[in-house]
Structure formats: C-alpha cells, structure tokens
C-alpha cells in the first residue's frame, strides 16, 4: 500500500511523518503547481471551487508516482467539501485509476475519534491501536509546532535586516523536510529551523503594518492558491497573522477534551452581534476573527475566499457592516485559477499604502489632541 493525500499548506509534513511512523509508504504529492491546476481543472466540474480542482490534481500527480490509497478529510460541517471525496473518487475511477479513498471525518466526540482510528487501522494494519493512537497525538503535535513556526516566520520576515534571509531559510526548511522521515526527526528539524530563525538579525524597532487574514481555510493556508500572499506581504514590511490554520481547526474539534483549548468560544462571542449561528464552512470564523483583529488593534484585514464559495459570500456581505462599524479596512480577494499576479499585487500594494496613510493620519490626530 502506498498512501498519498492532497496538499493544504504544511499539513503534508504532519501526515507524512505520522504515516511513516506507522511503517506505511508515503508518496507526498509534488508541491502544487500549474501542472496540478491544469490536471485538476481538466477533470473537475466547471462550477466547483478551486480547492476541489487543486486537490484532484494533487491526487492525479501522486497516483502517477505510484500511490494507490488516498487520504482525504471531509465532513467539516455544512460546506461542499464534505462530499468532495466521494465525487473525486468517482472521477478518479472513471479515469481508470484503481485506488482506495479513505476519508477522515470530523472528530468532535470519543466515538468519532475511535471511528477515525479504525480508519487509520485500515491503512496501518500491522500496528496495534495503542501505536495508532499515539501517532494521532504526535500528528497533532507536529501540526501545532509547524503552525507556531509559521507564525514566527511571519513576525521575523518584515523585520529582517538582510532582505531575503527569512525566505531562504524557509526554502531550506522545505528542502530538509523532503530528506527526513518519521515524526521525531521532523520535530527535531522544526526545532532546528526555529533556532536558526531566532538568530536571524532583525530590527525590533522597525515600524510594521499588522494585517490579519480571515476566510476559507484552504485559500488561507495554501500558498499556491493565495499566490503566496503571506510571503508577499511579509516582504512589503507587513506582519501577517492567519486566523484559520490547520492546528486551530483540529483544536476546535478536540476541545471537548479537558486538556485541549481552542479559541472557538472567543470567535463565536466576537461574531455574535453579526452572525450567531453556524452556516457552514468558516463564515462565522471569518466574521468573528475580523472583529477580533479590530479589538487587537490590527491595521487591516484581508478576506480570502474561493470563487463560488457560499459560506464566504455570506460572510463577505456581513463584513461590510463590520468594516463600517469598527472602522477597519477590509480587502476582499477572490481566488480562482488565475496565475497572473499583477492584479493582486496592485490591490495589495494599494491596500498596504492605504493602511500606512491611515495610521499616519490617526497618529497626527492623537498628537494634535495633546
């Protein structure tokens, strides 16, 4: 059995390490590229969102490299993604690929966790449940560590003294992951990179703009789809914070456990005056986190959404009221299969410039009051 899974930011690192721990051969899909997009688009329904197309492309590239078992997550509340794995399985079978699809459902209770571990057992047949359970815990740990690392990268990048140093360390990080196997090696490598990152010389007094990113999780964490927005903004001197990330997504599922804490209630509290119920996808989070960014004095918010994404379209119309009432600028970027970056670059530059001018303006006003 050779297992593969679709890309979603750095989630592949945790999945790869854990399946390797269980002694399964892992074929991580090649990094998403124009070829992935081309393959995915050719075989996807026309009106489907970009995450579907990219993940389908990921599968096809992995299968071409020998994968025969595909792991996909689904069932995350009421968004279309809950049935993507079934549709993708049908499409792949029609294309003549002989594969097995294993779908990870949400795990919001003990029953669901056991159900999930049973599915993992199908992949890792020779391992007993204790080992599978331990691997599951490790996977969550790796996800947390990597998201922490990513957050640190976002803080260092806009403050680095020698430009490009942070990005080249990031490339070294990704290159290294390819060479190592198993969770303990992975955790070691993450720590090593973290140490190196902390030793990059930064200007702690540099004035930076702070921008929070909200929106649909896949577009927020997958750099190929969001045209590398995190890195781009960082290099424009912006400290970026992402509100939805894989680790937080999982914490929110597991927070019925006494030792897991998530920000879910905080998010719901902040969103409540605007939207006080779950409408699927990340809509409630998008609104709640935009309000929270305002509370934490961020300069602006960027809302990322895939074209045709229902929950985010609802969130977007609510965000207009948030923008007005809280007086925080929100830039909306709709993402689909465009790879021409000029248009996005223009919007980002103009937005950051606007944030600078607004900040200078408020600063002047504060001074004139004194």
């Amino acid at each position: 059995m050779k297992i593969s899974f679709p890309h979603m930011g750095n989630v592949y690192i945790a999945l790869k390490a854990v399946f390797e721990d269980l002694g399964v051969t892992v074929i991580p899909p090649p990094k998403s590229s124009k070829r992935t997009l081309e393959l995915g688009t050719r075989h996807s329904p026309e009106q489907i969102c970009i995450p579907f197309k990219i993940t389908l492309g990921n599968y096809m590239e992995s299968i071409n490299q020998g994968a025969d078992t595909l792991f996909m997550w689904g069932g995350c509340d009421a968004c279309r993604i809950s049935y993507y794995h079934m549709l993708q399985e049908e499409i792949l079978k029609e294309l003549g690929y002989d594969i097995e699809m294993i779908c990870g459902e949400p795990f919001k209770s003990f029953g669901e966790i056991i159900n999930f571990l049973q599915k993992l057992k199908r992949v890792a047949g020779d391992n007993h449940y204790g080992k599978i359970g331990a691997s599951f815990v490790k996977a969550v740990k790796i996800l947390n560590e990597i998201d922490d690392l990513d957050e640190l990268f976002c803080k260092v990048r806009p403050r680095e003294i020698e430009s490009g140093e942070t990005d080249s360390l990031y490339r070294a990080f990704e290159e290294g992951i390819k060479q190592i196997h198993g969770s303990s090696k992975t955790l070691q490598w993450v720590q090593e990179i973290k140490n190196k990152l902390e030793s990059i010389s930064v200007d702690p007094h540099r004035r930076v703009i702070k921008v929070g990113i909200v929106g649909e999780i896949y577009t927020v964490v997958e750099p190929f789809i969001n045209l590398n927005i995190i890195q781009k903004l960082g290099n424009m001197g912006v400290e970026v914070h992402r509100s939805v990330m894989a680790s937080e997504f999982i914490r929110e599922q597991l927070d019925f456990l006494p030792f897991v804490r998530s920000e879910k209630e905080e998010v719901h509290r902040a969103a409540a005056p605007y939207i006080d119920l779950e409408i699927g996808g990340h809509a409630r989070h998008t609104v709640g986190n935009a309000v929270r960014y305002h509370e934490e004095n961020y300069d602006g918010v960027i809302h990322l959404l895939p074209f045709t994404c229902m929950p985010e379209i609802v969130a977007q119309s609510i965000l207009r009221s948030v923008e007005e009432e809280k007086d925080i600028p929100i830039l909306k970027l709709v993402l689909d299969e465009m790879t021409g970056e000029t248009g996005y670059q223009t919007r980002l530059e103009a937005f950051i410039e606007l944030l600078w001018r607004r900040r200078e303006k408020t600063h002047e006003e504060v001074l004139s009051w004194n």
Partner: protein
Amino acid sequence: MKKCYLGIDVGSVSTNVVVMDTEENILEKLYIRTQGKPIQALKQGLQMVKERLGQDVEVIGVGTTGSGRQLASVMVGADVVKNEITAHGIAALHCVPDVKTIIEIGGQDSKIILLRDGIIYDFAMNTVCAAGTGSFLDRQAERLDIPIEEFGELALKSKTTVRIAGRCAVFAESDMIHKQQLGHNQEDIINGLCQALARNYLNNLGKGKDIKSPVIFQGGVAANVGIRKAFEEMIGCEIVVPPHANVMGAIGACLLAKDEVKRTGQTNFFGFDIADSSFYVNSFECESCANMCEVVGFHRDAQLVARWGDKCGRWSNILTPQKEQLA
C-alpha cells in the same frame, strides 16, 4: 532648457504618456492603444513625445504606473513605480483638492476610491468579472458598428429605456442581442447598456460605500457622456470629468516622480534615445522546482537587462533590478 517630468501609465488597453513642467502644467499628453504589445506602444509613445517636445527639454523625473509599470520602469529607468490606485488618487486630488469619491473605469479594471481629508481612505477594484469595463463597451460598439467615441452621444438621444442585464458581460451581451431582435431602437439599447454598466458598478464596487460629493469620473470610459449621465441619475449628484480624464494615471505618475526626485535629487531616466533601442523579451519555464515559474528575460539592444517572474529570486537576483518602491 525647460525642465519637465514624464509620467507613463501602461494599461491593458491604452498606454498613456504625460509631460508635465515644474509648475505642474501639462505640456503633452498621449493616449495610444496598447493592443497587447506594451513594449511597442511605449516605444511609439516615447518617439512621439520626443518629436513633439523638440530639443530644449530636459526630463528630470520619470514615474510609471498601470499593470505594465514594471516593464515600463525597466525600459525607461523610472524614479518611481507605483500602483495605479495611488496614482489615480494623487492625480484626482491635484485636480479637485477636496475630492471625496473617484469613479475610475479603464479598459480591464474598474475601481472606486474614497478619499477623506486628502488621503485615500478606502478603495475597491472589480474582482472576477469584466462586465462594466471599457473593453466590454469597446466590443459592443464594434458589434453595433458604431465608433466608440459616438457611443455616449447616442445614448443621450434615447427617449425610452430598454433594460439590459448588467450582472455579467455574457448575460449583458445575450440580453442585448435579444432586445435587438425584438426591434428596439439602437439609441435605447445603447442607453440601456450605459445604465447597466453604471448599475453594475454601483452594485458591485459601490456596495456599502459612502459615495460623497465631489465625485470625479476618470479613466478612458469617462469620455462617454451616456455613462456619466447614468451615474449622475443613480447617485443623484453632479459628476466632474476632469479635462485630462483619460490620462489621470500618467498625471499621478508625474506628480509622484516630482516628489521622489525632490527627495533623491537625481533621475534614473535613460533618455529618449531608448525609443531607438530594440527591445526583446524571452521567457522560459524554470524547471528547478515544482513552482515551475514563468521567467521573463528582458533585453535591450541584445543585452540582458532584467529578469522577473521567479518566486525564489534564482534568476531575478542575478541582475538585481530596481525594487518596486512601497508606501
């Protein structure tokens, strides 16, 4: 010798060049169709400006803007490279110092820019659909076999309104064809189109935005009196179309260049002779990693002067081109 600034706006549909003197008077303006060949268009533009200006002019600062701003910057040696939203805002503030709203409709893009107390306060740009931009009007004018310059005048002659869907360029076009087949007047259909465009703009970009007067209408489409009238009716206030409405981006670039040169004290301009240089671009797909970036190499007189398009800097760093300046 007269000192002046050069502003260049390389857009998807038109390439505009403006020459401004130190007192901020506009000496020359050019509006050339880009036709998908920005290098050719810019060369032609520079050649024309050079001929019109004669010998006794010295360029002391150059700014570029528009979607082709990087390319233009590498070609001419720009002092400042700025996004078109800022450039348009600066130019509008120059014409009407207390402007609060800018409606800008160009070839591929449409934007709304809100200003308060002389700074850009909020903006929006069309995202996924080109309905309601100049290219769409161009295409419909061509289909009706009417010169685009007369399009707006015809709309004003209309007596009754024919409603045309404005949501999407494809819907609008098929709606328009169906109304034609029913035998409606051409003027009425054109008027309907102008209204559809204005409605689409206000519903899409203007949604939730506080459109306050004075309102400026600029960009190539501002020349269309039918659309201007439609906007005035829908917004309910007078709309100012500045005298150089179609080259406002380039004017903004001039003003930005003036500021920049004041700071640096010198210009990077290569001189008008570059209009006689031959430019050549080659592109290839880098195979070093999975990103498969489309790398562009830019040559002047057979010499490689810049590369861009790679995510990692492997190719572009070799030559370290001028970095785009921010904020």
